[in-house]
């Protein structure tokens, strides 16, 4: 029984390291699918999430891993299918969507199709940026919504200069600053567009803007997103810390079991003797 117990305990502790091994050696820089069809990409400085076909949010959601807390994930910008349209059709409700990662795991291709129209949203993470490329099989009129809670300024417009939804001058770059509410950190983001869009609109919310909408007429548009944290906030617990914690939990629980098995048994015996 002793050998069996030792084997089982070693087994429990050894398995608890699997998430850490995966995080350090396998999960880096490749699109990985999980859950009900979500995909995630972890690069050294960016974490990108692309939700499953049954969810219209985070299509994709681009996060930055700040250097002061590499396990933290701070969202820079989220593309939303719930609120984006192509030729008047809602990307979430009016299209059939299939998602595939390329063979090398570097590019994620989400295909949106409906009669007479097919478009691809291709996401690629390069060394310092995340590219979201929209390619259609014909010229389209698109309305893309980009969300961030909250941007304190967009192309130098603030809530003071744009207190209501407002069209701002079109250009190929959208620069914004933001406050991250979860970490209380501040940062900057930049979205470069491959072509000048027909309109860019900012939408006020509380003390800043919570979304920027980009409208364009073309068969192709690339959004190149980058961002960084300029002022570190409070470093707190992060989900990505879990792989480091699980081995500790395993060791503590197993130790507790061994102690109870050893001393609990002795006490039981002693109690038995007293009664007898």
């Amino acid at each position: 029984m002793k050998i069996l117990t030792i084997f089982f305990i070693v087994y429990v502790i050894a398995l608890s390291f699997i998430p850490l091994v995966h995080q350090l050696f396998i999960a880096q820089s490749s699109w990985l699918g999980y859950g009900t069809g979500d995909y995630a990409y972890q690069a050294p400085t960016y974490f990108v999430l692309f939700n499953n076909p049954y969810d219209g949010s985070s299509k994709p959601n681009i996060h930055v891993n700040p250097s002061f807390a590499p396990n933290e994930r701070i969202s820079i910008v989220e593309f939303s299918d719930w609120t984006s349209y192509v030729d008047g059709f809602n990307l979430f409700n009016d299209f059939n969507v299939t998602i595939r990662a390329s063979a090398d795991g570097k590019i994620l291709d989400a295909t949106y199709s409906r009669p007479g129209l097919e478009l691809h949203k291709m996401i690629e993470v390069t060394s310092g940026t995340v590219q979201v490329k929209i390619i259609a099989n014909k010229e389209i009129s698109a309305h893309v919504e980009l969300w961030k809670w909250i941007m304190t300024s967009v192309n130098n417009y603030t809530i003071a200069t744009a207190p209501k939804p407002m069209l701002i001058p079109t250009s190929t770059s959208i620069n914004f600053t933001f406050n991250d509410q979860s970490l209380n950190a501040t940062g900057t983001g930049m979205i470069s567009l491959s072509r000048v869009p027909t309109q860019i609109e900012v939408w006020p919310f509380e003390n800043g803007f919570n979304r920027v909408t980009v409208d364009f007429i073309n068969s192709e548009m690339t959004f190149t997103v980058s961002g960084s944290i300029t002022e570190p906030g409070q470093v707190s617990w992060s989900y990505a810390d879990l792989p480091y914690v699980l081995p500790i939990i395993a060791i503590v629980t197993v130790t507790g079991y061994l102690l109870v098995e050893r001393y609990g048994q002795k006490n039981k015996d002693r109690a038995g003797r007293v009664h007898s």
Binding site: I3, S16, G33, T98
Partner: protein, 433 residues
Amino acid sequence: MDKRIKIVLAAFIVRAAIAPFFMHAGDLGTIYESSAIALNGGNLYNFVYQQTLQMQYATGLPVFFEGYAYHPLLIYFFVPFYWVYTLIAGPSPSIIGGHFPSLPVLVYPWSLIAILMLKLPIILADVAVVYILAGIDRKKAEIYAFCPYIIFISAVWGMFDAIVALFLLISYLTFNRKNSYVVSGLAYGLSLMKLYTIVLLPLYGARLWGKWKDLGKFILGFSVTLLPVAYYWMVSLLAFWNVLVGFQANRIMGGVNLYNFVWIIPDVNFDLWVSRIPNILLVVSVLAIVMLYGRRLPLLEAILAVMLVSFVFGKVLNEQFLVSIFPLMLLCEECDTRLWIAPFSFIFLRSPFYYFAIPILWGSPYFYDLYFQADTIWRYLQTVGYLMIPMYAVGIAFSLLLFWNLTQVLSISRPAAGTLSRSFSRVIRILRK
């Protein structure tokens, strides 16, 4: 009134009073949906298979639709009750949707009646277990009748492991009686409506090896339960195979066990690969127990040893699985049945309690709103990973408690061949052959 009847009645009343107001929307919704399909003559496995194919096509991943993935016999325990419900409420649906991650739409008051009716076979199974146990030991019957964990799984959650427990108990009690091998085989076959009791098949085989007449009787009873399997095998082989075998074999490990760490690894292909480790250990450990202890231990302890080792090493161990062996554990002197506390506490770490109270909360706009307010907090705790820490700790603790019970059960007999390492070598040799 006879005390035995009093306990049985009390067990029934407690459960029936709670039943209509709570449910696990995903699981009870599956039974509701499947009962409707079965009553209308539809093919359950085709439905689930189509959903799986659709998900796999959309995502490009080996993901499965979690629907009716049980023995075909199971649904016929629910269909008569569903049919009675339709006589009362009519054919219009009253529980709509509810497959994870979506929430159900409930039509009042019919949904409450539907919930009660679909839980009745489970409650009756619970009550039958209480009745049988009361005939053996009234105190043990009381523990089963009023154990919060057992009541929760049957009357609140709406999971049907009590039916498995009943048939497993009958199979055990009738096994050693003269001329009861047919009943034992039949009851064992019925316990397979949740497939995890399949690990007992080699044990029954080992116990009856050489007693060919008794083995024949056991197989006769057992084979009756395979008739619906044969039917579905013929009419929709691909769907049946995919849903029952493909899903179970390609399931990602996890549950109230030491494997739930896999839930934090967002990589389905890796998760599937690593889930093979428990499969190997499960096969080796079950065969080892059967060969070394299968005939030496008394039947009760032998059954428990095989089930416990499959729970310890098997890749999936859901909160409700313990119900199936709980009556047997109560009858076993070496077992500590207080281990139910671990899966019971795990329930509330994995799903918030208000999720089970949907039939109450959906009844008023105020409570409906409260549900989503509470859910925002819950989802935050989940997303940040705070819940995963206690879930993992409870998972390991439960595995260790099961392991401890296993060692207690095995300790009443010494294995056939001296040391453990020698025994393992023997198993490996036999496997190679």
